[in-house]
């Protein structure tokens, strides 16, 4: 066994061990770079601040308007801050209509639409993206074509479908004799439960996932449903958040359809309730803004909780 003494490291001076001090010109360059970086970041922050302020001003205006008296709303030039904070606008606005029922109804409808959309639109999107079948492209083109049909042009046919729904609301098998789904939860929930845009978005997300996952899952013996539910869908959480939030928002803001298919106050929604304050003879701005402020709260909370996934979803879908 031979012993060998490891070669001694080359002698180094203390100056060589310590990191070399930047020269004066390097320090100047670094300081200049830092200053430039600071200036750029400051400019960017300023730009974002201005953008954020521009975005938030309408909300602030809405909130401050909701706290002004009619006399103050009549002032010119208008005030930004309320001179007198009129908090009673809120209880008075809520007393103008059964808003607790309207809130409940809006929530039930929006929640139902979101749930139906997340389940069925994701399935449809998965099928269009990952399951090859005859006519798949035609079906997809049909869904894209549906995106181009204006909502208002569908209202009368949709209303007739609801009205003549067989075996509901006293209708016979041919849809005659009764009121069908009119003035019922069915009419409020089912027709708006699924949208072509949600299917389209899900398809785009499922398309972006690698095929190898599916192949591996099939080798492991997983069936189609388990591949959809256990492999792919957990990877599209941003899509679920994005589509869910957009669906909830659309449903929450819906006005015309609930107005048309219901006659009972017990089935009316928040947006229909708010219309009470905007009449032909004039608008009660204080009450309208108080009601609108309250109506935006659920959406703001939802966005705060989902914003991480929501932003990711838009980024991934390429629609940011």
């Amino acid at each position: 066994m031979s012993t060998s003494t490891p070669a001694a490291p080359p002698a180094t001076s203390a100056a060589e061990v310590r990191p070399s001090r930047p020269s004066a010109s390097n320090r100047r360059d670094r300081r200049a770079r830092d200053r430039r970086r600071f200036a750029t970041r400051s400019l960017l922050n300023l730009f974002l601040l201005v953008g954020a302020f521009t975005m938030i001003v309408p909300f602030l205006w809405m909130i401050f308007t909701s706290l002004k008296s009619p006399a103050e709303l009549a002032l010119f030039p208008p005030t930004f801050w309320p001179q007198e904070w009129r908090w009673e606008n809120y209880p008075e606005a809520l007393a103008a209509a059964p808003f607790h029922i309207y809130f409940r109804n809006s929530f039930i409808i929006a929640f139902s639409h979101t749930a139906i959309t997340l389940v069925f639109a994701s399935m449809a999107g998965y099928a269009l993206a990952r399951i090859p079948f005859r006519g798949r492209e035609w079906i997809f083109m049909g869904i894209v074509a549906m995106l181009m049909i204006p909502t208002y042009s569908k209202i009368v046919p949709q209303f007739l479908i609801v009205r003549f729904m067989p075996l509901f609301g006293g209708n016979d098998i041919l849809g005659q004799g009764g009121t069908g789904w009119l003035n019922s939860w069915w009419a409020l929930i089912i027709p708006g439960g699924l949208s072509a845009s949600a299917i389209f978005l899900f398809r785009q997300f499922y398309l972006s996932l690698p095929k190898e996952l599916e192949e591996a899952a099939r080798l492991d013996g997983l069936g189609e449903y388990r591949i959809f539910a256990q492999i792919y869908t957990p990877l599209v959480k941003p899509a679920l958040a994005t589509v869910g939030l957009l669906t909830f928002q659309d449903s929450w803001n819906n006005f015309l359809w609930p107005l048309l298919v219901t006659t009972s106050d017990n089935l009316r929604v928040i947006q229909v309730g708010l219309a009470v304050f905007q009449q032909l003879e004039g608008t009660a701005w204080g009450y309208l803004m108080a009601g609108t402020t309250l109506a935006t709260v659920p959406m703001v909370l939802l966005f705060l909780f989902c914003q991480k996934y929501f932003v990711q979803g838009f980024a991934n879908a390429g629609i940011k």
Binding site: A74, T179, L259
Partner: protein
């Protein structure tokens, strides 16, 4: 709020087209029968009421807690289910109801709407079914208001409330400029408007001498047009006459006020403004809705004593009225009950309560003496001058035509078209709608 206006316009355009296609197939024949001869106790049935008024807690309380109990006292065997809607969505509500065949027994709708629905057989003919005659009604209402509920020489609706557009002047601001009276002619109106308009050193408008932007432009134009002696259609409503010399002169007058005299800038105010500019001194004169008085009670009580309504002084006094009327569905299964409710809602006590709740103008001339009318300067003025008030509408296609009027006026005001071109284009579109 502007999105609401455009949304409403889109809805109306789309659904009016759908209405034209579906009404003919779905409308029921006029077999209402009835006649109102039955004793109240013998009248029975569950009926539905579609109403764009009485919405909101106060309106619902008035209808459900006060008016309907009074009705039930007279007609104990009748039950009324109420469907509230807004005026903005009434057309959609009626269109879908008619298309589906589920037409409310009693429908409240606006002046100018009756002709289209009566022509398609949706409304019961109250002259045939209940014996109403034009002459009888003119004993209680101004003739123009009676005509608003008629089609083809028959009565189809009873007036309940009116909303008017008149000239309004701030007399305190007029006095500062040396005027002690409202305008007596278009020329004087123009001269006063110019004198009362104020701009700052930079030329920014501070006060308009004559505000035409915070009233719907269609209704503002029509108010001026009526004062020129013009009419919207020929006598049998087969041709539009917007583009008559009177129409062109009216639109040219408005265009000159804005673009030559600079009395008001586009965007200075709008129908969505938080408050009418007459109330906060941003306008010295203007065309306004009669609800200005009740708005002033809330927002600017100090200026109420200075508000002076006036009819627009042209060839004839100009005043516009719209309003709400009650009609019975031709296919109602309970025509006597529906007719009874219609008559009740149009009766003096019920109509007065509804008008008071909304600050509107009662259609019945006998209500001129009521405390409510006597205490509301704008409503009182409107009622005292109902004989000169004119309405819009006329042909069955009015709901299609009216949506095109505002864009035509805007095109002229923005100088994209001359008044003659804008009105000719409008008349062509109106003629096409009438001929369809």
């Amino acid at each position: 709020m502007s999105s609401r206006t455009s949304r409403t316009r889109r809805c109306a355009a789309g659904l009016t087209a759908a209405l034209a296609l579906t009404l003919a197939a779905c409308s029921a024949g006029s077999d209402a029968g009835g006649g109102g001869d039955a004793a109240p106790g013998e009248v029975s049935g569950d009926i539905t009421l579609l109403t764009p008024i009485y919405e909101g807690t106060e309106g619902q309380r008035l209808l459900e807690d006060e008016l309907l109990p009074q009705f039930y006292e007279q007609y104990p065997n009748v039950t009324v289910t109420v469907d509230y809607t807004t005026y903005g969505q009434l057309n959609e509500k009626l269109t879908t109801a008619v298309a589906s065949g589920l037409i409310p027994d009693v429908m409240m709708m606006g002046v100018g709407w009756i002709e289209g629905f009566a022509d398609r057989g949706i409304l019961a003919n109250l002259s045939e079914d209940a014996g109403y005659t034009q002459a009888d009604l003119e004993a209680d209402y101004a003739p123009q208001i009676v005509e608003a509920g008629m089609w083809d020489d028959s009565v189809f609706a009873l007036p309940i409330m009116l909303d008017t557009r008149v000239g309004v002047a701030r007399m305190d601001l007029l006095a500062e400029a040396g005027y002690d009276h409202t305008p007596t002619s278009w020329e004087e109106l123009r001269e006063m408007a110019i004198a009362l308009t104020e701009r700052d050193a930079a030329g920014t408008l501070q006060r308009t001498g004559f505000d035409i932007m915070s009233t719907d432009l269609r209704q503002g134009f029509e108010t001026m047009f009526f004062s020129s002696g013009g009419s919207l259609f020929n006598e049998d409503f087969t041709e539009p006459t917007f583009n008559s010399p009177e129409g062109v002169e009216t639109l040219q007058f408005l265009v000159d006020l804005v673009n030559t005299d600079g009395i008001e800038d586009i965007g200075f105010t709008s129908t969505d403004a938080e408050v009418n500019p007459l109330l906060n001194g941003r306008a010295a004169m203007g065309i306004a809705h009669n609800s200005l008085w009740t708005q002033a009670e809330d927002a600017a009580p100090d200026v109420m004593e200075h508000l002076q309504p006036f009819t627009i002084p042209g060839e004839v006094p100009g005043m516009f009225f719209g309003g709400t009327m009650a009609s019975v569905a031709a296919g109602s299964e309970h025509p006597e009950a529906a007719q009874a409710l219609t008559e009740f809602l149009a009766s003096p006590d019920a109509a007065l309560a509804a008008n008071e709740q909304r600050g509107n103008v009662p259609a019945l001339t006998e209500l001129l003496d009521s405390d409510y009318v006597q205490g509301n300067v704008m409503v009182q003025f409107a009622m005292e001058n109902l004989d000169v008030a004119q309405r819009e509408g006329g042909p069955p296609a009015w709901l299609e035509i009216r949506g095109d009027i505002k864009p035509a006026i805007e095109a002229a005001l923005l100088q994209q078209q001359t008044p003659q071109e804008a009105l000719d284009t409008l008349a062509d579109a109106a003629q096409a709608a009438i001929d369809r």
